[in-house]
């Protein structure tokens, strides 16, 4: 046990860095020195970059396998992904937290009061939340999983409340918090049921137990309902039907930089949690090809789970897209778009281990970059000191803020899946994964949804670039900080440049998502060829 601990601890190096940084940032935030307070985002960035650097050094093959993880190499991709997009998210928040207060202090209107500043806390929570998401990669049992998810969630509730100065932040926070708490209870109950059915909290054991059930008389109803509840509970994190209803309000109400955070970090965490849970359960709808080219359908896993995911995917993308059509608020529209993209991402979950997880993570990367680009462009602008929200604010943006207008257009093009932006490749790879799982119907649904999504993404591109300026948009100015601008440009360029290394990224995602080989247990009988029980697919997929 001790032997197993040490590699596990080593694997936690990035989180440790973040934790230390979080503590440091929280303390530094109280400093009277303005420049120290101003340096907080950059300290945060440094920590994140350091954690990226720590990943390849610590997350080696041996360590990962010694840690007895379900998906041993997952962290190698997910952690840098989180930290990398995290850097951009930090940049885009520079200058937003405590802005009024800092301005007042700088003008000497009020004295500095450590009790009223929140910047330190904000970045500390930021780091803790990212850290929680990272920790998910190291999860090997449900307890860890639960704690990590909570570590992701709790700070975000506070970030929504304190991140900005708008009146709507509190409303967003209260909605986010209460509904989040409810969803937590839901998946917690699901954990309990899963535990009850399998008798273990360890992923590997759960997997084995479920495999045994499956090979026997079929998976427990209790387990199925447990998994369903877990999925539903986590749907809140990934803004999927039926738990997505909060998203438009919260995204709209939260400060833009926090919205960007919500759109990526909890979503990544939610998907990672789902990937882990579903890896335990196994993946449905496999098609394997033997040496003779014969297709063997694998109807391994509980039909209900597959069916529910299927339904959730279609409803999520559809409701997201048609909801976005009606919006006049950009952030609200992006919230719906976030919902829709979760729908696409669930395709990856359904497609499963053959190519689905790698597609999912690749798409998360793409989504992170492109959605951050759009939020950053929004965060870089303001109107009379308020963040801009409606399309009317963006009309004719090109004339006064050409770069941001272009970034919005680029991110819209990427989000809609227009080649050659990164979003297109993400989508292609997701579709390929869905094909691998024989989910042709889902691909058609996603394709039709993409077409529908053109209706509103086009607006996001056309309004800033083409529409004549309105009275409202004449008042739009850039925020004092240049960093959101830089973040937007970096993300925008990223959507264009990343496709050129898409092959490398996909490969990295693929390598990171290979699951641990099944530990052969006595209870598992040799399945006859043809219809094979689920877990076998896991071994086969790693070929």
């Amino acid at each position: 046990m001790i032997d197993a601990m040490s590699p596990r601890l080593i694997l936690l190096a990035p989180e440790m860095i973040l934790f230390v940084a979080a503590v440091a940032v929280a303390i530094m935030g109280l400093s009277k020195n303005h420049s120290i307070r101003a340096s907080l985002p950059f300290v945060t960035c440094a920590a994140l970059i350091a954690s990226i650097a720590a990943v390849p050094m610590t997350w080696t093959n041996e360590n990962a396998h010694a840690a007895n993880l379900l998906l041993p190499m997952l962290g190698r991709f997910v952690k840098p992904l989180l930290a990398g997009v995290g850097v951009l998210l930090v940049l885009l928040s520079v200058g937003s937290v405590d802005r009024r207060l800092e301005e007042s202090v700088a003008r000497g209107r009020i004295a500095f009061d450590p009790q009223r500043v929140v910047r330190g806390e904000f970045y500390a929570f930021f780091l803790l939340s990212v850290m929680g998401a990272m920790l998910l990669c190291n999860a090997q049992d449900l307890i860890w999983l639960f704690l990590a998810i909570e570590l992701v969630s709790l700070p975000t509730y506070i970030m929504v409340a304190i991140g900005g100065s708008g009146n709507r932040n509190q409303e967003a926070a209260v909605k986010y918090f209460f509904l989040g708490a409810m969803s937590t209870a839901v998946f917690l109950y699901g954990f309990a049921l899963l535990y009850g059915s399998t008798g273990s909290l360890q992923f590997l054991e759960i997997r084995n137990a479920l495999a045994a059930q499956s090979a026997g008389s079929g998976i427990d109803t209790i387990a199925v309902i447990g998994v369903v509840l877990i999925i539903l509970g986590l749907c809140f994190k990934i803004t999927a039907v039926p738990m997505h209803f909060y998203a438009p309000d919260v995204y709209e109400g939260a400060p833009t930089h926090v919205t960007a955070f919500l759109a990526f970090v909890p979503k990544t965490a939610g998907f990672t949690a789902l990937v882990l849970i579903l890896t335990c359960v196994g993946w449905t709808g496999h098609t394997l090809i033997d040496s003779d080219g014969v297709r063997i359908p694998y109807m391994g896993l509980p039909t209900p789970i597959a069916a529910i995911l299927w339904m959730i995917a279609i409803l999520t993308m559809t409701l997201g897209n048609i909801g976005a059509l009606l919006q006049s608020s950009v952030k609200r529209m992006l919230a719906y778009s976030s919902v829709a993209h979760s729908g696409y991402l669930i395709l990856g979950l359904i497609a499963g281990a053959t190519a689905g997880i790698e597609a999912l993570y690749f798409y998360l990367l793409a989504y992170g970059v492109m959605t951050t680009a759009s939020f950053a462009a929004l965060a870089a602008l303001e109107r009379r000191g308020e963040e801009i929200n409606s399309f009317a604010d963006l009309a004719g943006l090109r004339l006064r803020h050409p770069v941001m207008a272009w970034m919005l257009a680029i991110s819209a093009a990427s989000l809609v899946g227009m080649p050659p932006f990164i979003g297109f490749f993400g989508k292609i790879y997701l579709f390929i994964a869905a094909f691998e799982a024989d989910q042709f119907g889902l691909v058609v649904a996603a394709v039709l949804n993409s077409a529908v999504s053109g209706l509103y993404y086009l607006k996001l591109a056309i309004v800033p670039l083409v529409a004549p300026p309105s009275a409202r948009s004449e008042e739009v100015t850039s925020v004092p900080s240049r960093w959101p601008f830089i973040a937007a440009v970096v993300c925008g360029v990223g959507t264009i440049v990343l496709p050129s290394i898409a092959g490398l990224l996909v490969d990295a995602a693929r390598k990171s998502t290979q699951s641990a080989p099944i530990v052969s247990t006595a209870s598992q009988s040799e399945s006859p060829a043809g219809v094979v029980a689920g877990p076998d697919s896991i071994t086969l997929k790693s070929q």
């Binding site: 209260v174 409810m182 369903v228 039926p242 438009p248 209900p304």
Partner: protein, 714 residues
């Protein structure tokens, strides 16, 4: 001597490619004219260029004729040729190559010859346009001559089609020469479109030929015909002549596509003479003569041609009787004469048809050119009621007398060339075993009388009688050259001319008079083959020419090589066919002339009285009304075709914009929005509302799982 029994097989003779210069020269001249246009040359360079090129073409054709030994195929360059396999139907060959046989030479001789003459005429006629549209005019002429050459000399049907459409283009450009007149533009458009309809038939005929015989080259097609014309596949071969004749009807202005030709008189008169009388409109005759073996395959096809020709001849003659515009009278006479040619083709005498084409080319060109001279001199005046006694005006005598020659020829006055050519056609019809052909023959004779009447109606009105005239409204040939820009100047001069009060017709000069004389002589000379035959009993040149070509089957003189037994020797009115026809034909011609003399020279009032008398009687009133209104064919076409299509276009346009685009497409885009609105209440904004919705969702999912569970999963 005749017939040879089969179509002579062409030999490939690349060494004769110099004949291609007859095509190339007009084309080069066209380029030159275009350059003149572009450089805004003010002089007559374009005319000189054109005349030289055409004369050279004529020379080349003469040389080719003199050195002619048998049908040849002259490859020039590969045009529309490709293959995708080695089988019969796996290649398509339509090269730019020439097919020279006697029919080709026969046609090309008068096309280039008349072309040259008329261009000389035009060089003077159009001189008022120097610097404005002069070069453009000759550009059109060159394009026409090139296209006509391609049409006649092409080695395959695609070349023919190229020429076919090319002459249509030239016709379009030249009819619409004076483009500021809307009527000219409309006429040009009409000509092109009516021709297009026919062209489509021709195109499908070509497709059908290709589909059946795997080739569109004459030599191969004729070789197939010599073997019996059996197609290698089971397409309906008999459709081919009907499709081809549609093209011919369009180009040669036969029923139902004849209405464009009278309108085409909007073009300058040399154009009317060259294109719309002498050469282009005979392309239909050429096509049928060229493809005659295919028509022979299907008796009903030839009968259709005959009927269409006969009826067109009559119809056009009746209309021609009631027109007052000289050029229009001549235009209808052209249609009528073309009807004779088709009748000839239909009843089986290609010789008659082709010979009539030749004679007609001369006398009709002559007539048009005289009309043009009148128009030229009298400021566009063409109303035969407003001109009289021209032959007494100094400088107009040549015009008047050459016009008389043309009129006599057109009336088929006994022992003129046209008399013989028409005789050949009618004789064949009257001696036919088919009763309907004999009927058409009598119809043709009746039409001949009408023709004589309306022809001399013109001459007696215009050239004979007391001298008086009213100038026309156009005055674009003032010696002072004001043609720099636009119509304003022209209008101003018209006003000035009218205010002067005194109008002096300016008589034609050498180019016009010379050409008229040459043409008059030519009209006489083309009678030589017939005279040779009738008087010297020598071999008929025209017949020889036809017999050596693909139209050999109808090349014999009617009655001479009749395949029928002698006891069935045909008779006309109880006399020998020849004699009977001569008698009846002479009677018809002279009778028509006499009536015209009475009504239009002796007592001109009686013509009006006759008309008034006819109009008074309700049961006969429709005849003059319909004749004067061209039997309302244009109106009928307008109501039957143009109007429905225009309405259809409007409806479709409206439907396209408001239904297909407005309802279906935009409606499709609105569906997701409408669905989105359905879900809108779910995002009400109340915290507990969301909680309820979420809980409801969870409950639904759990219920669903339970349902699946009850059904038994795994």
């Amino acid at each position: 001597m005749i017939p040879t029994g089969s179509i002579p097989q062409a030999v490939i003779a690349p060494e004769l490619s110099w004949i291609g210069l007859a095509l190339l020269l007009p084309l080069l001249a066209a380029v030159g004219c275009a350059l003149c246009c572009a450089l805004r040359v003010k002089g007559k360079a374009a005319a000189i260029l054109t005349i030289v090129a055409l004369a050279a073409s004529f020379g080349i054709i003469l040389k080719a004729y003199s050195s002619y030994t048998g049908p040849v195929q002259v490859p020039i360059f590969q045009w529309l040729t490709f293959q995708w396999g080695t089988g019969t139907f796996q290649s398509f060959t339509a090269n730019c190559a020439l097919y020279i046989d006697t029919l080709t030479l026969y046609w090309m001789l008068f096309v280039t010859g008349l072309g040259t003459l008329i261009t000389i005429y035009a060089s003077e006629y159009m001189e008022g346009e120097c610097g404005a549209g002069y070069s453009r005019f000759f550009f059109g002429i060159c394009i026409f001559l090139f296209s006509m050459g391609a049409l006649v000399m092409g080695d395959n049907l695609i070349m023919l089609y190229l020429g076919w459409e090319g002459v249509g283009l030239a016709s379009y450009l030249l009819i619409g020469y004076d483009y500021s007149r809307p009527s000219a533009v409309a006429a040009a458009k009409k000509a092109f479109i009516m021709n297009r309809i026919g062209d489509l038939g021709l195109a499908f005929g070509i497709f059908m030929l290709w589909a059946n015989y795997g080739t569109v080259q004459y030599s191969e097609l004729f070789a197939a015909m010599n073997k019996g014309g059996q197609s290698s596949v089971d397409w309906d071969v008999s459709v081919i002549p009907f499709l081809l004749m549609l093209g011919a009807f369009g180009k040669s202005a036969q029923i139902p596509l004849f209405t464009w030709l009278p309108d085409a008189m909007e073009g300058p008169t040399p154009v009317s003479a060259l294109i719309h009388a002498a050469t282009m409109v005979t392309a239909g005759v050429y096509l049928i003569a060229r493809m005659y073996p295919f028509f022979e395959l299907h008796p009903q096809a030839l009968a259709t041609v005959a009927w269409v020709g006969g009826l067109t001849a009559l119809l056009a003659a009746t209309i021609g009787m009631a027109q007052y515009d000289i050029k229009r009278v001549f235009a209808y006479s052209t249609i009528s004469q073309l009807g004779y040619m088709f009748l000839g083709l239909g009843v089986g005498t290609t010789f008659g048809a082709c010979y009539h084409t030749l004679t007609h080319a001369f006398f009709k060109a002559l007539l048009f050119l005289t009309a043009g001279a009148i128009m030229h001199g009298f400021a566009g005046q063409l109303d035969l009621r407003k001109l009289s006694g021209l032959r007494h005006i100094p400088g107009w005598r040549i015009v008047s007398w050459t016009m008389l020659v043309g009129c006599l020829w057109l009336s088929a006055f006994p022992y003129t060339a046209a008399f013989f050519s028409k005789d050949a056609i009618l004789l064949q019809a009257l001696t036919s075993v088919r009763a309907d052909f004999r009927f058409l023959g009598w119809l043709g004779l009746f039409t001949a009388a009408l023709t004589a009447y309306y022809t001399f109606r013109v001459w007696f009105r215009v050239c004979a009688g007391p001298t008086h005239f009213e100038p026309g409204s156009e005055e674009h040939h003032e010696p002072t050259d004001h043609h720099s820009d636009g119509g304003h100047d022209a209008k101003a001069t018209v006003g000035a001319a009218k205010s002067h009060g005194a109008f002096h017709p300016h008589a034609p000069r050498w180019a016009i008079n010379g050409v008229l004389l040459i043409l008059a002589v030519g009209a006489v000379v083309v009678g030589v083959p017939a005279y040779e035959h009738v008087f010297a009993h020598k071999e008929n040149w025209a017949q020889q020419m036809i017999a050596g070509s693909s139209a050999y089957q109808g090349a014999g003189l009617p009655g001479e090589h009749s395949a029928e037994p002698s006891e069935n020797h045909p008779t006309v009115l109880g006399m020998d066919a020849h004699t009977g026809l001569t008698v009846v034909g002479c009677t018809a011609s002279i009778g028509g002339i006499l009536i015209a003399w009475y009504l239009h020279l002796h007592s001109r009032k009686s013509a009006d009285q006759l008309r008034a008398a006819l109009l008074r009687r309700w049961w006969i009133r429709w005849v003059p009304i319909c004749m004067e209104n061209k039997w309302y064919v244009d109106e009928i076409y307008h109501v039957c075709f143009r109007l429905p299509m225009w309405l259809g276009g409007q409806i479709l346009n409206f439907g396209d914009r408001h239904f297909l685009d407005g309802v279906l497409v935009d409606g499709l885009a609105k569906i997701p929005i409408a669905v989105g609105k359905v879900f809108r209440p779910l995002y009400g904004g109340a915290l507990q509302g969301y909680a309820v919705t979420m809980a409801g969702g969870i409950a639904l999912v759990l219920a669903w799982v339970t349902w699946i569970w009850l059904r038994g999963f795994n």
